[in-house]
Amino acid sequence: MISHQKKGSGREQRNLPKIAWVVLAAASSVMLAQPVMAADYTITGSSNTYLRMTRSINKDDIYPLYEYLRFSVSAAEKDGSATSLHLGAWGRLDLVDKSTDHHTDGDIQYGYLSYQGAKNNLVVNAGRQFITEGVATERVDGLYARSDFAAGITAAAFVGTPVVTTPNYKGGDFIYGGRVAQGKPGLYSIGVSALRNESDNARDREEEGIDLWVHPVKQVDLTGRSSYNSITDGWMEHAYTLSVAPIDAVTVSADFSRINYQDYFYNVTTTAFALSNNGGLLDPREQVTAAGVSAAWTPVKNLTVAAEYKNYGYEILGSADYVGGKLAYTTADALSLGASGHRMDGSSDRTRYYDYRLYALKKTGHTEFGVDFYNVIFDRPIDGVKSSYALTGIAGYEFTEKLNVGGEIEYSQSPDFNREWRALVKVAYAFDMKCGEKGGKSEK
């Protein structure tokens, strides 16, 4: 639980330069060797600069300037294998309000060296990376490897340090885990996975899970996952979705999930999700079962009409129903139109409301314009506000294929911000360079 955590932000800040150096050193040695071997180079990158003009809840003007830099270089062999380096980072500078000493910040989002084999879907990654393997959806400073084996078996393993940046807590010293799956391409896949997260004096996390994907015929698709907490000895979550498309134009989807709070919210790193027996707000006895159905119809290409219903059943709080529909028309590059409306009918004032959304975006030549309106109407006013809404105007201009400049202005009213204006200016620049016959993925 939260009390298990120890202060660790300082240690992580000390580790970051070390990680960056290790990744860069490994990358440069591999990349320098590539000119002799490689047949196909791809270098891509992007810079996204955002200037926000907004106001804090304390009515202080805030003008944060953000810069996001992404860089990727890949050297591919003729046999299909490839070695690549991926780096992504951001930084923020507060231009106006400097009332605190926290007016700059930044982070390495990812930075890893990757080898992809020509056969067996072999992948080996080293560095800061995002891992998705069964129960693991983690950002880790460490190593990751996966490969296909005989008899339709695939296996993956990872080990490293969990990347948790909460100021006062860390998420354990050491994380490791893996997943083994067996399947037949196009027909089914069933996997078992586990992760352990350890620190010096506590069992932080121990989770196991099964996941499956079944696609017996083209029209039917079942995906799902169950995860188990072996510290609390209970199932954390079951989540399954069944999709059926009886004809090409119609898809019906049913989903089911069950979450046990005691097991799911064990050992989080923020009080926002802490259980009440650990100083938080969530009742550990609570369990929620959500079951829903949705249907989508595509009468003509690019137009989707959908209806959806979901019931939330709580052991303690009662139940809530969410029902509504949406309409979307989208062409690849020129036009997006959409509308949606839903009713939430729950047991408290905050969970009894209507929500609506309308949006339109049109591109003409190098210019695009759009509006986006989102509205929530509560049955009973919250802090004196019955209708919470945000209206956003969007504009953009494409100077070249690589350089885009855009902006938006938002007017909103809500229980927290009465008649608020916000604005944002965005400059996006992307570049890529290719040597050889094949291209690459843009970082745009």
Binding site: N48, R52, P64, R70, A76, A82, D107, Y110, Q116, A118, K119, N121, F130, G134, A150, I153, T165, T166, G171, G186, S189, G191, D211, W213, H215, K218, E237, S243, T251, S253, D255, I259, F265, T269, T270, T271, A272, F273, S294, T304, Y312, S336, R350, Y353, D372, Y374, Y389, T392, I394, G396, G406, S412, S414, P415, D416, F417, L424, G440, K441, S442
Partner: protein, 145 residues
């Protein structure tokens, strides 16, 4: 002790043998056709990739399963930065702020999210916790001391 050494020798050998016997071809490193907008994978694929139709009404719910099962298929179109747009561990800008103009995408936290997050948090806190329970929760701590 002898059995431990034997196991340590046999496991890698067995793994190498199984890898050698697998002999599958790796998925495409780069998608052969440029894809724009929200693709309907059914238009070209009749195999397992057809299930990854991004226009399906439930694709957003299922994308995490595909990320586990077929991460390389995702990577043939999406760079790592695409995942980081939403799944970052210390992110200050919401995806809906970074990509306001992508109105058709299912991006979380649209509109006034300060008041809306209390509603979502009450209805299904697990949906918030997937991203914010262990990472990317610095903003939570400004109020949830």
């Amino acid at each position: 002790m002898k059995s431990k050494v034997l196991i340590m020798l046999m496991v890698p050998l067995m793994a190498l043998l199984l890898v050698a016997c697998a002999n599958t071809k790796s998925g495409a490193r780069i998608h052969p056709e440029a894809v724009t907008g929200t693709p309907n994978c059914n238009e070209c694929h009749t195999d397992a990739y057809a299930a990854m139709n991004h226009q399906a009404v439930d694709f957003f719910k299922k994308h995490s399963v595909f990320a586990s099962n077929a991460r390389m298929a995702c990577a043939s179109c999406h760079a790592e930065s695409f995942c980081s747009d939403c799944h970052a561990h210390k992110e200050e800008l919401k995806p809906s702020v970074k990509y306001t103009q992508q109105v058709e995408r299912t991006l979380p936290h649209r509109g006034d999210y300060m008041s809306q997050h209390r509603i979502d948090g009450k209805i299904n806190p697990a949906s918030c916790a997937k991203c914010h329970a262990r990472t990317n929760n610095e903003r939570c701590l400004t109020c949830h001391k």
